[in-house]
Amino acid sequence: MKTEVGFELNGIRVSAMVEPHDRLLDVVRDRLGNTGTKEGCSEGECGACTVIVDGRTVNSCLYPALEVEGKKVLTVEGLLSARNRLSPIQDAFVEMGGAQCGFCTPGMVMTTVALIERNAAPTDGEIRHALTGNLCRCTGYVQIVESIRRAAEKVREAEKEKGSP
């Protein structure tokens, strides 16, 4: 039995016909072609599929597609500026070498977006705590933590610029 769900994906109204067992991940990747979100484990352990629903990070591999009705979903594709530039957070990951194979990276970036939204100046301990749901096999996390520290700086700098006349 397919049902139509409508929601906002990266600022655009979208809809898709979904089965009861479909996951948000399937809708975003397979139905709507946003393959930036990755599937790493299908059981909520690795965080590669992290997206933001109404301001909160969720594992889209566990999130029933039917429940996204009327909500706002942000994926890695939604972070680029209107002129297709990297956001300060993504830029920080490039600057500090936070991506290696890149498969966990979109999930790491989304976790960072949510972290910095609620904590503009996270300590290394807070960063590591926020990352415990995102596995990476390449980096040993060191340059990811450095990327997030730098990302927070960049966001604060951007806020300051915006705030000044």
Partner: protein, 804 residues
Amino acid sequence: MTDFHWIGKDHKRPDGPDKVAGKTLYIHDLTRPGMVFGKIKFSAHAHARIVRIDTSKAEKLPGVLAVLTGYNSPEVRVGFMRDNVALKRGKVRQFRDEVAAVAAISPEIAEEAIELIDVEYEPLDAVFDPVEAMREGAPLVHEVDANGKPVKTNIMPLDYGHQSGDIEAARRASKFIAEGTYSVPRIQQSCMGTAGCIAEFDMNDNLTIWAKTQIPFLAQRDYNRALEEMGLSGKNARVIVPALGGGFGTGLDTHCYEFIAILLAHRTGRPVKILYDRFEEFAYLSPRQSATTRIVQGCDADGMLTFREIEVLQDNGAYASWGATYPTVMLLPATSLYRVPNIRFSAKIVYTNNTYCQAMRGYGNPEVTWALECNMDDLAAKAGIDAYEFRRRNSNVPGETTPMGLQVSTCGMVECLTTTRTRLGWDDKRGKNEHTPGQAPRKRRGVGMASLIHVGGSGRIYRSDASGLTMKLDDFGNVNVFYGGVEMGQGLHSSITLAVAESLGVLPDQVHINQTDTATCPWDVGTHASRGAFMACNAAILAARELRGKIFASCESIFPAEIKKNIEKLRRKDPTFTPPDIDIAAIAKKENFDLARGIITLRGLPNESWAQIDIGRFLRAIHFRPDGDMLAARAFYDPPSELPDWSRGRGNMSATYTYGVQGAEVEVDEDTGEVRILRMTCALDVGKVLNLQTLKGQVYGGLVQGVGYALYEEVKSEHGRILNPGFTDYKLPTAGEIDFPIDLDFIETADTFGPFGAKGVGEPGLVPTAPAIGNAVFDAIGVRIHDLPITPEKVLAALEARKS
């Protein structure tokens, strides 16, 4: 040392922006028009005869296009010993055996169809322990070899060994002797991107396969052989490598699932995608080999090593992958880590009904280094010599030829040892066995170190160890680079970009690395043995030299004419402009030109813009003239090394060798057995830093995999069935555990054979981590853990055993 424009600095990776934007395409993201989905049915037994396979229900399921078994499809042999087939007939030898496969229009239908296949088995006695497998009368995993010849033993016919000097005499002459038996478990490579491929035939029966491989050209050879077995002799497999999502050795073999996708694609006439999920990756993609190592070493009264004896037993599992050949790399530490005059090394690799094992980063080296470096500490203690000092006395040195015949061009091991000593605060902390200040008295701290040797100039394990590279210039000054090796996250494309920019004389932004594709890229043996940057950059230097020669030869005629145009243009703007009185045609000889940062200059002309031309303009000038030309160059680099005689364990298998030392400071809770790392250090002789950012990434990442190996990771199995096939029960290090400082020190020895002096660094990060931690644990609490991982249970058991 030469002054470089780009090499040795901190650069952003060229593949970084797409990765952080989610634009990089992995096999998971690729699709083809008309594509259908393959799914495999795996064995229900570790060892059983296949009595009957009933596929009728699956065939009738709407949406199913094909159901294949070993009985209705061509036999495609797999593995370098040809002891495996893509779809099994007769019997299954492990739970990961492929007994049937379907292609369907959706993954869900394929899954449902698999469930509808009914297989009747007659279970057989099985063997899961390599020691039991060697006993007379043990169930045979294979009754015949690939040629149908009967076999009488589970011991694989692979002969690796080494003997030099006189062990018995050296043993008698030794003042101190230490021995021990150490083991390492099977672990999962745990690529974040799971395995998968898409196979597609064109109407001429040629195959294109998008494969998650580290060996595109050896894979092409394997797939072409499969095409022959399918009756498609003379047809070709083109291998295209998407972004990998991690390799770590999983891409060194071609896999049954790839051959099954090929069989399904040919049967259905559709592109077929097979994508493993995480459970399948754990249960049905091979893990790292386990090994048990017995080691005996001796030294004289001065602490100089006198002899070393190492015996390794590997539980291979049911079929031979390249993982069975770990001893080729075990020989490195066994014969050549420290200077030891008398050495015996032997290895037995045994078939069992466990899942078969494959390659992983370090490839045999961490397995033996775990035993060897723990034993070094034990021997130092017996000799009453400080463990750092013991290592320093026996350290490898530049210029030596080791018992294996390794020719050591450069070696920074002593610097690595002294750096580790300083970084760890060794002299203040070692042997102090102190209580942690402010903590309950049963938390104790300790420090430990361990060294490594690894191939640093590729590792010759095949009849060619070469890598080709092509550079093609276009009308805009772009350098399009074609290299057959694989960027799997390690930063290969960054290294190639910098090497091309540096050696050709262009800007990194002008360098474009193309997707690895056997149809367009020159041959490469594979991205393994820490060889990617070493090989690609050496090939780039050779190709750039040729290309510069071509550019400068053409400049003799083109450059003066272009400069003349510059002068005329300037004069139109400024009639007073007078160029210096130089006969440009007379000095325009190829040896006088230079190309740097994309600008061609001529020695003898002033450093002014009118006297220079942009590479793009030069390329258009040479292209759009009568008898025009477009420039390209190629190189095929084969390093100066030799294919060892494996049964004697002799041969200089690499052009150069990488050395390093890691240090660990730990705190052990004697009540809970928990080991907490307080600091890790790594001093590594890298020859020369290429890109600091990616180099750090390789070493941090390797070291943290080493921490996982040391403390957490183990693929557990019972009667051949894997018990922890997922991240819930298989513990990978998370950012939460990696809460300690990691000090990296790169020692630059400017290697003779290394590109710009650089050595390979891909694997070393994880090689000595576990013994550095194990030695630190011993320093803290005085008990030796012999079997990885060092879990709280094992620490408590060892403390308990010491009491009684």
